[in-house]
């Protein structure tokens, strides 16, 4: 039997062990794929015997995860990768098909704001049920209901059926209930910024306060900015499996690179063309470091030497165009040899060479491409495209593409 072993309730007075807040081992979730009729009878029989010999869809597989107190975790991944399934399992809404889940703390889950609210009931009645569903006791609900109502800022409408509420009011009510019990872990599914301007501010203030008081956030978002800002760690789930786990910055960068590459693959066929025989052509193209060793990674602020050979069919000196771009095709910097006044040097019969050194490469960490085109001596037409990929390594929480030279200084009163 799997997934059924649970912690006994912590004994009051027992010594507090520094155990993880959340521990998942080998967690998998399988959804049954069974048609109507007789297949279902056999399925029921299998379930009763505790076996799983019916066809299933494996939404999650082999997820191991440990979350410590105060170590907020971001979940990223494409749509349908299994992020929500994992959050539901941690929240206790779904049970894992394999592996075990241990949670040593109180969970507040905002899986879908306003879920479980009944439109015919008043705001107050709905708070009571929602709070009870989250495991709050009657006494706790009594003590907190006024502060919940105040935080939700519903005013006198609190005793109206919530079918008369605006959607923003419902959302506010949901957030207020979920956060009222000061959970050890707050699980949210893309619902960070809710309600109107003033409520958003209160949400953010609450969140910052929560995090600074040692609260732990489990956040599932497509906004990498949120993940980087709020989470220490990130887990990238790809097709139901752990693709990458680690520092939030590293994982989000890798995830962005993956997406840039995916977009690039879509574009590749049309944009990269080989030169035709009898035309100007880049015959070799490579990257190296200042010592002449081949290079595929460089530290932030380091140096890259771009080397290449160009074939010129008529022996005239060609022009070379070089550009740096992000993998999804966003141009960062480009130049041609004739702009700079450089003339490729002859290396042999109809063959010319160039070497371009990029100093203080202040690109932010990530994956980039350097492209080069062989052009005619007039610098009017380019004939082919070659490309090298490289990674910039480094630790920074700065945002964007490149680091501009800067310094901070005290501010002054306006003019």
């Amino acid at each position: 039997m799997t997934g059924r072993e649970r912690d006994p309730i912590a004994q009051p007075g027992a010594p507090e062990l520094p155990q993880p807040l959340i521990a998942l081992t080998g967690v998998g979730k399988h959804y049954p794929q069974v048609g109507q009729g007789g297949g279902r009878l056999r399925t029921l029989w299998s379930m009763l015997r505790g076996r799983e010999d019916y066809p299933v869809y494996r939404a999650l597989q082999d997820i191991d995860l440990t979350v410590h107190r105060g170590e907020s975790l971001g979940l990223i991944g494409e749509n349908g990768a299994g992020k929500s399934t994992l959050l539901k399992i941690i929240a206790g809404v779904g049970k894992p098909s394999t592996g075990s889940v241990r949670v040593n703390g109180r969970i507040g889950a905002l899986l879908e704001l306003g879920a479980g609210f009944h439109p015919e009931y008043t705001g107050r009645q709905n708070i009571q049920l929602a709070a009870a569903l989250m495991g709050m006791e009657r006494q706790e609900v009594r003590e907190r209901i006024e502060s919940i109502i105040a935080f939700a800022d519903i005013g006198e409408h609190i005793d109206q059926p919530i079918k008369h509420y605006s959607s923003g009011m419902v959302v506010r009510l949901g957030f207020a209930v979920a956060t009222a019990m000061q959970p050890d872990v707050l699980i949210t599914d893309e619902v960070l910024a809710v309600g109107d301007e003033s409520f958003q501010k209160r949400c953010i203030a609450w969140m910052e306060d929560y995090l600074s008081n040692g609260g732990t956030l489990l956040l599932c978002s497509h906004g990498m900015f949120h993940i980087q800002k709020l989470c220490k760690k990130a887990l990238w789930i790809h097709q139901g499996r752990n693709r990458m786990y680690g520092d939030a910055g590293d994982v989000t960068r890798a995830y962005l690179v993956y997406h840039e590459e995916k977009q690039r693959e879509a574009k590749a066929a049309s944009s990269l063309q080989r030169g035709q025989a009898g035309q100007y052509e880049m015959t070799r193209f490579w990257l190296e470091d200042v010592a002449g060793r081949p290079l595929s990674t460089v530290g932030m602020g380091g140096e890259i030497v771009v080397q290449g050979h160009i074939h010129s069919p008529d022996g005239r000196i060609p022009v070379v165009a070089i550009g740096i771009l992000r993998l999804d095709g966003m141009p960062i910097f480009g130049l041609t040899s004739d702009i700079s006044g450089f003339r490729p040097n002859p290396l042999g019969q109809d063959l010319f060479g160039f070497s371009l050194t990029l100093e203080h490469l202040n690109l932010l960490p990530g994956r980039y491409a350097i492209r080069a085109h062989a052009m005619d001596p007039e610098g009017m037409r380019h004939f082919d495209t070659v490309e090298c990929i490289f990674d910039v390594l480094g630790q920074t929480r700065e945002l964007g593409l490149c680091r501009l030279a800067h310094h901070w200084a005290p501010g002054k009163l306006g003019t």
Partner: protein, 272 residues
């Protein structure tokens, strides 16, 4: 007190140690749902059984003029009512309980709590409503129709407890089956109609041909209805061995249903 949520939700500790408040909330929600939007829910709670009782009294006493051996015409109304209300409670409880999982799918998919609670809340609300109605009906019968033996009342409670346990246990099993086979939901109505006529509610067991009687005795409702009558109408309050049998039988069905439910509730959720 620190605790693990998981152990609360599905742990070995019985749910009612931790979730009485949630259960109460679900139960009141079920009861409110019946009368939601109506101005005076409690009023209907009283009026429904009174209308039904009046209807039966008119039909059987004035139109059919049914006479059973050893019973006055008014006696027949009492005879039917004592059997009918426990039946109504039982039937509605099982029918509501059977659709509790499918009906609360939205809640089950979003919140972590023991799933059996929605089934019990649905069934429990029916028992609560109809057994309250039963109490009212008994009072009205006593004062306006035929005096009842109140001394036997303490023995009626374990009997009704057995009925409630039977209903809760059946609801748990049916709720799972309805989730897997939606057709069953349609079949429950006709099956309960057959069960109604197969129970000695409108007729006494004595009227059934000898050859069919063993069949009737297989029906647990036969015992409940007959025993309720012997208690209230004849005042045979002395405990009988069958009283214990009923209580243990009800408990057995309840525990079997709970075991079944717990066994399959986790994978069943994925069919909702």
């Amino acid at each position: 007190m620190p605790y693990t949520r998981e152990s609360l939700v599905r742990g070995p500790t019985p749910f009612f140690m931790h979730y009485p408040w949630l259960f109460l909330n679900l139960l009141t929600r079920e009861i409110r749902n019946r009368y939601v939007g109506s101005a005076s829910g409690l009023f209907w709670l009283v009026l429904h059984p009174m209308i039904l009782l009046g209807l039966y009294a008119v039909v059987f006493s004035f139109i059919f003029k049914v006479k059973l051996p050893g019973l006055e015409t008014e006696g027949f109304v009492t005879f039917v009512a004592i059997g009918l209300w426990p039946w109504l409670a039982f039937q509605e409880a099982v029918q509501r309980g059977a659709t509790a999982l499918t009906g609360n799918a939205a809640l089950i998919k979003k919140a972590a709590f023991p799933r059996e609670m929605v089934v019990w809340a649905a069934s429990g609300s029916s028992f609560l409503v109809h057994l309250t109605g039963f109490a009212l009906v008994l009072i009205v019968l006593h004062f306006f129709v035929t005096p009842l033996h109140w001394g036997a009342l303490p023995m009626l409670l374990p009997l009704l407890a057995a009925l409630v346990l039977l209903g809760l246990g059946l609801s748990l099993i049916l709720s799972v089956i309805v989730t897997l086979f939606r057709d069953v939901e349609q079949a429950i109505g006709p099956l309960f109609m057959i069960w109604f006529y197969a129970s000695p509610i409108l007729y006494p067991v004595a009227m059934v041909p000898e050859s069919l009687r063993p069949l009737l005795l297989l029906n647990p409702l036969t015992f409940v209805v007959e025993r309720a009558r012997s208690l209230l109408m004849a005042g045979q309050w002395r405990p009988e061995s069958v009283d214990a049998l009923a209580l243990f039988g009800g408990l057995g069905v309840f525990l079997a249903g709970w075991w079944f439910f717990r066994r399959v509730s986790a994978p069943i959720e994925d069919f909702l």
